[in-house]
């Protein structure tokens, strides 16, 4: 099987990896780069467990050919904590709220949720916005309630922090 040499940025690091042209990003991340945090639940784009971010946008890595990510920045759950200096506020909130039961869908949900909060840019998301942003990620354990609680919790904190820093800016002016 002929391989292609693919160059991309994964979690902030430039990587080169050889893979057959038909391999998906999921296969390359999991089995070539050993980034096992990205999960395979269905391998056909139905469950969302394999969600990663490509250039900041949530994508299903099982439906994305690895070549599609060439020259682009891929973020997996391993990179999420890294960005935030160890533990992302979403990970901490999920832990406090017991929002992960088996945890298998959680990496994908975290990446969808992080993208939502970034889009909100300091505005608190509504419950409906959270549900819409995460509707592509199935969870079979939780009934979703604690996940929604955790995301809203972080959204609130970020809104408070944004308001406080806006206040400081206004004060400084």
């Amino acid at each position: 099987m002929s391989h292609l040499l693919l160059s991309m940025t994964v979690n902030g690091e430039a990587v080169q990896v050889a893979a057959p042209a038909h391999h998906t990003l999921l296969e390359v991340l999991r089995y070539k780069l050993d980034l096992i945090g990205t999960k395979q639940g269905c391998d056909k784009g139905d469950c969302g467990a394999c969600t990663v971010q490509i250039d900041g946008v949530p994508q299903l890595s099982c439906l994305t050919l690895a070549v599609h990510a060439v020259g682009r920045a891929v973020t997996t759950v391993e990179g999420l904590g890294q960005q935030a200096g160890g533990c992302h506020p979403l990970q901490d909130a999920f832990d406090r709220w017991n929002a992960a039961q088996c945890g298998f869908c959680t990496p994908g949900i975290l990446l969808s949720a992080e993208a939502l909060l970034r889009r909100c840019a300091g505005r608190e998301p509504t419950r409906l916005q959270v549900c819409e942003a995460l509707a592509g990620n199935l969870c079979r354990c939780t009934g979703y309630t604690k996940i929604i609680d955790a995301v809203l919790d972080v959204g609130r904190q970020m809104a408070v922090a944004a308001a406080a820093s806006a206040g400081e800016v206004a004060h400084a002016e």
Binding site: D34, N98, T145
Partner: protein, 791 residues
């Protein structure tokens, strides 16, 4: 059970971070498919395209000739049958002489990678002789000849199991009833849908020990069956369950992949991994049995249940799985929370040419609960009694015995009813909701484990070992399977409560048959009560040793020393304290190495003395009430569940949010079964699955799922650790009939068949409309005109 000299509830009932959640969320926990061993091969299974066929021959040569193919196995390598229930060993790891459903495994091949293994499976030539296939259980039951017998080990044609039990004079009591409600109910099949597909890895160590890592919820039973089928002594096998991505009963028995990776690893001398595709997970199934249920229930004028008569046909699929137990459970678990005057059930499980059914969350009792709770609702309407009041009048109470002679201890059912009634505004709001909107209620009960293990023995049902070390930490060893429900955290909470250590100072090592004491596994909601009791036993022994050593040095009585907050504290002089490490070191100096074992065995006096009387007997029963609010769109037939209130009596919540999560997750799963999910094969397509994907099998998403309001009720049970009972399965049951009853309240139609899909809702609305026009029924209830126009 709780001892008096501990600092009461310094951990119990609080909110805890789980002991193993952060590593999962950081993406570093290694689930089974995340394991990668040097030289590892990948295996795939060639599966039957026929629902029923004899295998005339298999030609492996073209597959074995492919470069990169290492070995193949067939049914001839696994001639010893197995079965999770020791009385019904009726399946082989791969088909020996015939295949019994589409997806039955025929050949397994190990190759250098998955692509090569798949290509090799395609190259195998199997010569099949198709046989007549049976997809309808009643049709299958009618056949008695050998040719039409589906399962090769069956001795009674296609009857997998038949149970008939009668308690009291049912016919006489029905005849003497003021009201008899008759109903036919159909529960379609549903499946577990865990997001992690089944996966197993096997390795033969240089010492000859076979290690199998598997996404299983019953490592001990898997260990036993591997030993049997592979003809190896158990001590030559080690089974490890890595972190698990959901199970819900779908991983509670051995599957073909575990035997195949083991045999292929033995044959090749290399580690072998096999990961199911999602399609294979659907064909492996072992999900909820479709049941056809015929109920007759007799009531007095004031709503008391005089008689229940149930006839049930269970569609079992090709193998027994847990089916013997399911058949009993379809009747045995119905006898609370309501007192029955008399009771008879007649349940027959049929073999059919479909993927085998088995245990799904709320094993065997979700389907009859659906029928029973709608029967009660119909009676409430007929008698003009409030549906909650009708249930109250029949409450069986605490410290009592059911009609089928199970002893019930604590019972918080009335409080559950009161909580959902108050929270939903039932009294004030129900009468005011116009046509199209409705509230419905239902109740249920479930076991906290079964008093008798799957294979008969007198040994403890659970064992836990705890070691303390000089740094002031504890290690807990348990064979119990944490499948995401949080059992590892439960063990940490109990250890923490007893030994005064914060959760993060406790390491729980579980589900490794070489390291941990035997536990029977994560099924029948047994772990909190049974393994929790064993853990409490071990931890309280250690606590006494530690307190004694501290007391000796302080020259005070032992009961003045309490352990909490990583310290040993003098109860009467709280300024006097030492840290846990010092306390443990004193205890180790006095007693030697600090380790204790604890075990738990079930009470054996809580069941009836009749054949089958032990099946369904439990140390303690949980109770649940659900109340659903729905809006029915009469133009589209879409049922919008607005909110479900759930009150669940778990005895004592050891960890608050984890219990809430179990209540919410169970209720969600019931909601999905009520409205969306349908697992079945298509006879028009020779028994192929109707849609083996997570797109076609419609599990509720974030947007579909209604708001869930979980309320914890605590009626502590003398048999539970600190009074705790189960929370993981009970809160599924009444979710479904509560929705059905709410739909009736909204638009006056009875949906006696799940799922409540739009075509069924529209058909029922049209039928009601026809009967209203014929003058047989008056309009259901007032509401805005536009709401009923197209009905």
């Amino acid at each position: 059970m709780p001892s008096e000299d501990r600092e009461r509830d310094w951990q119990l009932g609080k909110v805890h971070r789980k002991v193993d959640a952060m590593e999962r969320m950081r993406g570093v926990a290694r689930y089974t498919d995340d394991l990668k061993l040097p030289g590892m091969l990948h295996a795939k299974i060639l599966r039957s395209p026929h629902a029923h066929a004899r295998i005339r021959g298999i030609d492996l040569a073209p597959a074995l000739a492919l470069p990169g193919v290492f070995a193949a196995v067939t049914g001839q390598d696994f001639k010893i049958p197995y079965g999770i229930i020791p009385w019904t060993p009726d399946e082989n790891a791969l088909a020996v002489d015939k295949v019994c459903h589409v997806g039955d495994g025929v050949v397994a091949i190990a190759a250098i990678d998955e692509d090569t293994a798949n290509a090799a499976c395609k190259a195998v030539i199997v010569d099949y002789e198709p046989l007549r296939a049976f997809f309808d259980p009643e049709e299958a039951l009618a056949v008695r000849d050998r040719e039409g017998t589906i399962n090769p080990y069956s001795r009674k044609g296609n009857v997998s199991k038949h149970v008939l039990l009668e308690f009291g004079e049912v016919d006489a009591e029905l005849a003497a009833s003021d009201l008899v409600i008759e109903g036919d109910y159909e529960f379609g099949g549903t499946t577990h849908g865990a997001i992690e597909p089944h996966c197993a890895v096997a390795l033969v160590e240089p010492s000859g020990i076979l290690t199998v890592w598997s996404a299983t919820q019953v490592s001990h039973y898997l260990h036993r069956e591997l030993a049997k089928v592979l003809e190896l002594p158990p001590h030559r096998i080690r089974v490890i369950q890595p972190p698990l991505g959901g199970a819900f009963g779908g991983k509670s028995e051995p599957f073909d992949l575990e035997f195949c990776v083991a045999k292929l690893a033995m044959k090749t001398g290399r580690p072998v991994k096999l990961l199911y595709t999602r399609e294979e997970v659907f064909y492996a199934h072992r999900g909820r049995h479709p049941m056809k249920m015929k109920y007759r229930t007799g009531f007095t004028r004031d709503g008391k249940i005089k008689a229940v008569d149930a006839r049930t046909i269970l569609d079992g699929g090709a193998y027994s799985s847990f089916g013997l137990v399911t058949t009993y459970y379809s009747g045995q678990l119905l006898c609370a929370p309501y007192a029955f005057g008399t009771y008879r059930f007649d349940s027959t499980r049929a073999y059919t040419n479909k993927p085998a059914c088995g245990p799904k969350r709320g094993h065997g009792s979700v389907q009859p609960r659906f029928a029973m709770e709608i029967q009660l609702d119909k009676a409430a309407v007929a008698l003009g009694i409030d549906p909650i009041d009708l249930r109250r009048r029949n409450d069986i109470g605490a410290n009592t015995q059911t009609i089928n002679e199970f002893r019930v201890g604590s019972n918080g059912f009335l409080e559950c009813l009161a909580r959902v009634e108050a929270a939903s505004g039932w009294r004030e709001r129900r009468a005011k909701l116009g046509y199209g909107r409705g509230l419905g209620v239902a109740g249920s009960t479930y076991i906290s484990g079964t008093n008798y293990p799957i294979y008969p023995n007198d040994m403890p049902q659970a064992g836990v070992q705890i070691c303390l070390d000089r740094s002031g930490r504890a290690r807990v060893f348990s064979g119990a399977n944490d499948i995401g429900q949080g059992s590892n955290t439960m063990l940490a909470v109990i250890t923490s409560e007893e030994l005064g250590l914060p959760i993060e100072d406790i390491r729980v090592l579980s589900a490794d048959t070489d390291l941990c004491p035997v536990d029977l596994g994560a099924y029948s909601s047994r772990i909190t009560l049974m393994v929790g009791n064993a853990c409490l036993d071990a931890a309280s022994k250690l606590r006494r040793k530690v307190c004694e050593s501290v007391a000796k040095r302080w020259k005070v009585p032992r009961d003045r020393v309490v352990l909490a907050g990583r310290m040993a504290i003098d109860r009467e002089d709280p300024d006097r304290h030492v840290d846990s490490a010092q306390a443990f070191q004193w205890a180790e100096a006095d007693h030697g190495l600090l380790g204790e074992v604890g075990s738990y065995n079930t009470p054996k006096d809580r069941h009836g003395e009749y054949r089958g009387g032990t099946i369904g007997a439990s140390p303690a029963y949980s109770f649940t009430a659900h109340l659903a609010e729905v809006e029915v769109d009469v133009e589209t037939g879409i049922v919008d569940v607005k909110k479900i209130w759930i009150a669940h009596d778990c005895g004592k919540a050891l960890s608050k949010r984890i219990v809430e999560g179990q209540i919410e997750g169970s209720t969600y799963m019931g909601f999905g079964e009520a409205l969306m999910e349908e697992h079945g094969v298509d006879p028009e397509h020779r028994g192929a699955h109707a849609g083996p994907s997570l797109l076609d099998y419609r599990m509720p998403t974030f947007l579909d799922t209604p708001e869930l309001a979980a309320m914890i009720v605590e009626a502590p049970d003398a048999n539970g650790p600190y009074g705790a009972k189960e929370a993981g399965e009970g809160p599924l049951h009444s979710s479904i009939p509560a929705i059905a009853n709410a739909i009736y309240d909204a638009v006056g139609i009875r949906l006696d068949r799940i799922p409540f899909s739009p075509p069924r809702v529209l058909a029922a609305l049209a039928e009601r409309r026809r009967r209203e026009l014929a003058g047989e029924l008056s309009p259901h209830k007032p509401g805005p005109d536009h709401a009923r126009r197209s009905a």
